[in-house]
């Protein structure tokens, strides 16, 4: 005699349906809907006015073969990621470690490093122009050089990344600083008693305990690199060596150009790159659990 127990009452089901339903509707309507719409539009040559016409993969072929800004944008996005990940983030960690040792005036350094973080990247872009402008910029005035820092496409991406890194360092520093404060001092003492050098203590003992912080920093770095937009847009609307995928999407879709199909194709590429990172990150996360 199996007693069939109803695990959910009718009321439970209603609540469940409404609760889940709202979440699903919001998720599909605001995230998956637009995403799939972009993927769909990327196969058309829609200009925002006329009828939708299916062109298959032509936008992607044009992107790769006949749109020079595309490859420079891909290159710049990767450079941006590399620079933030390999230069700015380690430097932020270094600052955090130094500040954690309670140097004299450490509060002052900490504030100075953290200050740019409260600025929007668009503002950092304006500040960068005051520094780098070839005619009135501080850098040329102080050094006596006459380099066109922002106009020369072989160097402008680097100086802009330095400006973006300036902000990123403070961001990373404050996160690591919080992480370092939480490390149990007993661990360091134990390592010191065991005769570990300062470097060994940090790399073998302290850094591994920072693992959760590392993951957060990594995610922030990737997000910052992929969503970079405002700083180059403020400087020269992301042209002439400062192309980024996000800017090209805007330039094609939002501007007067209205190449919505073509711009969507660029957005899909950006999505594919983002998904690559998200999948790697999630699979890493799940494997641990």
């Amino acid at each position: 005699m199996a007693v069939r127990t109803r695990r959910y009452s009718a009321r439970d089901v209603t609540v469940l349906v409404i609760g889940l339903g709202v979440a699903i509707v919001v998720n599909v309507g605001l995230i998956w809907g637009p995403t799939l719409a972009s993927v769909g539009l990327s196969g058309t040559d829609w200009n925002g006015i006329g009828p939708l016409r299916w062109v298959g993969g032509r936008n992607y072929a044009d992107l790769a073969g006949a749109y020079p800004p595309f490859w420079s944008a891909v290159r710049n996005n990767l450079l941006w990621l590399g620079f933030l990940g390999l230069v700015a983030t380690p430097f932020g960690l270094l600052c955090a470690v130094l500040l954690d040792r309670r140097l004299r005036l450490s509060r002052l350094y900490q504030s100075a490093l953290y200050l740019p973080v409260v600025l929007s990247l668009a503002v950092v872009g304006f500040i960068a122009q005051l520094v780098y402008s070839s005619d009135y910029g501080v850098l040329n005035a102080v050094t006596g050089l006459s380099v066109d820092w922002l106009g020369d496409r072989s160097i402008n991406i680097w100086v802009v990344m330095v400006a973006a890194g300036w902000r990123h360092v403070g961001y990373v520093m404050i996160i690591y600083l919080a992480g370092l404060k939480a490390v149990d001092p007993a661990l360091k003492e134990a390592a010191a008693i065991d005769g570990a050098s300062e470097a060994q203590t940090f790399f073998r003992v302290v850094f591994p305990t920072l693992r959760p912080v590392n993951v957060i920093v990594l995610v922030i770095t990737v997000i910052e690199a992929l969503r970079a937009f405002d700083i180059v847009y403020a400087i020269n609307r992301g042209r002439n060596g400062l192309e980024l995928l996000s800017v090209l999407v805007t330039e094609n879709i939002v501007g007067e150009a209205s190449r919505i199909g073509f711009g969507s194709a660029i957005a899909v590429i950006l999505l594919a790159i983002s998904i690559g990172f998200i999948v790697t990150y999630l699979s890493q996360l799940f494997r641990e659990e």
């Binding site: 439970d12 609760g19 922002l150 020369d152």
Partner: protein, 429 residues
């Protein structure tokens, strides 16, 4: 506590979601933020006309308000939107809920929207106002179907500007031919000046240089046909344009891609540079008491077959949207805006512009305005500037990066032109 508690907590949550979340979402979806500004009003028999204006700067805004104050046939409600925002959103604006009348540009940029059926045919208005405009202005207001869609209001010519005092002091004379131009530039360089002020950070100023060299070398018809996507960019005639330009590059202000036109204009004002090819709005960068010191010459002749018969002189004006609710009122407003008196109000307030009507009173013009009007009246063809003479997507996503790449590396012409031609094929199809 019985098991009723968690349920009611859930209900509470749901209630909260319904009360706060959903309406917030709905509010987020509605496309509010329709910018508006107070409009001039006058009672009249034709109801209310709405006017979408990009005159967000103080001077043009004031001049529009003054012009509208003398319009009595209908009430006018002005919606002012930031200049660039207006331009960038024009597609969505015309597709959505446009105003009856809106500010726009003559030439291809007008034709593009007329062709998509987003503008109202105003040929009947032109039968009345036609006598006030020259043929060049009428052509610039005519769609590809031969009907008129646009009423010219003001315009400004492009030319090579210089400071009279500097030129008098150094004994320079306006050049007539390309050789004289180059010789002058060489002399300026020897005198320690940067001959030609130049800036292209924003991407569009270099278009002016391309336009004028192309029109001088290959003539207006070829230029317009090239802009219309009908000619090949790998044509030797186009190559010739870039070759000529490259020859002049050594006299251009270096590091142009990091400079705005305002900075280049200031270098002209400070007498660091000798001359500057730009629109008449260059005067904005000069203090009021130095504006009489500005003079200009039209870009010199390159091919005698074309002489100096064409110039860039972008025309600003008004159109009626296809979805206009009050077409009669809108047409009456356009007739009012076409009147010389209305345009004179604008030119009086904004010294960087000229009245489009040939009946306009030029006696109130500044010296510079008078010279500008004279220049335009001598020109046989008036081009609208590259980004107004071609498809907006071609201008912004192909020509801006390409011209910037030329300015950065003037040596690589062949690969650049092949690239433009390839991209052109993906846009004009």
């Amino acid at each position: 506590m019985d098991h009723g508690a968690p349920l009611s907590r859930r209900n509470l949550l749901l209630g909260a979601a319904a009360a706060a979340g959903v309406p917030a979402l709905l509010a987020g979806c509605s496309s509010g933020a329709r910018p508006s500004a107070g409009g001039a009003s006058a009672s009249g028999g034709l109801g209310t006309v709405t006017l979408g204006s990009n005159a967000s700067d103080e001077v043009p805004k004031k001049s529009l308000a003054t012009v509208l104050a003398s319009f009595h046939s209908a009430q006018v409600k002005v919606n002012t939107v930031d200049h660039n925002t207006f331009q960038e959103n024009i597609n969505r604006y015309l597709k959505g809920r446009p105003d009856d009348v809106f500010t726009w540009f003559a030439g291809y940029r007008m034709q593009f929207f007329a062709e998509q059926g987003l503008a109202t045919d105003i040929s009947d208005v032109w039968r009345e106002i036609g006598g006030d405009y020259t043929q060049a202005f009428k052509d610039a207001s005519t769609g590809t179907d031969g009907k008129q869609y646009f009423v010219p209001f003001t315009y400004y010519p492009w030319a090579v500007f210089y400071r009279k005092s500097l030129w008098r002091q150094k004994g320079y004379q306006p050049p007539r031919t390309l050789d004289e131009f180059t010789a002058l530039a060489r002399k300026m360089k020897a005198d320690g000046l940067i001959p030609i002020a130049f800036a292209d950070k924003d991407g569009w100023p270099a278009m002016g240089t391309f336009d004028i060299i192309n029109m001088r070398t290959n003539g207006y018809d070829f230029h317009i046909s090239l802009m219309g996507g009908k000619e090949s960019w790998t044509d030797p005639r186009v190559r010739q344009v870039f070759d000529t330009w490259r020859g002049l590059m050594e006299y251009h202000q270096p590091a142009a891609l990091g400079r705005t036109w305002q900075e280049a204009a200031q270098s002209l004002q400070q007498k660091k540079t000798g001359m500057y090819l730009l629109g008449m709005f260059v005067a904005q960068q000069f203090p009021e008491n130095e504006r009489d010191d500005i003079d200009f010459f039209t870009f010199p002749e390159i091919d005698p077959a074309h002489g100096t018969d064409s110039i860039d002189a972008p025309i600003d004006g008004y159109m009626i949207s296809a979805k206009a609710k009050n077409v009669d009122g809108a047409k009456a407003l356009l007739k009012h805006l076409a009147q010389a008196a209305a345009q004179n109000v604008a030119t009086g307030l904004d010294p960087g512009t000229l009245a489009a009507s040939s009946k306009a009173d030029t006696s109130g013009y500044s010296t510079l305005q008078k010279r500008g009007a004279e220049l335009v009246s001598k020109a046989k063809h008036i081009a609208q500037f590259l980004d107004r003479d071609t498809r907006p997507d071609f201008a912004s996503t192909v020509m801006i990066p390409s011209l910037q790449s030329f300015v950065g590396k003037p040596g690589e012409i062949d690969s650049l032109l092949a690239g433009i031609e390839k991209q052109k094929a993906t846009i004009f199809r």
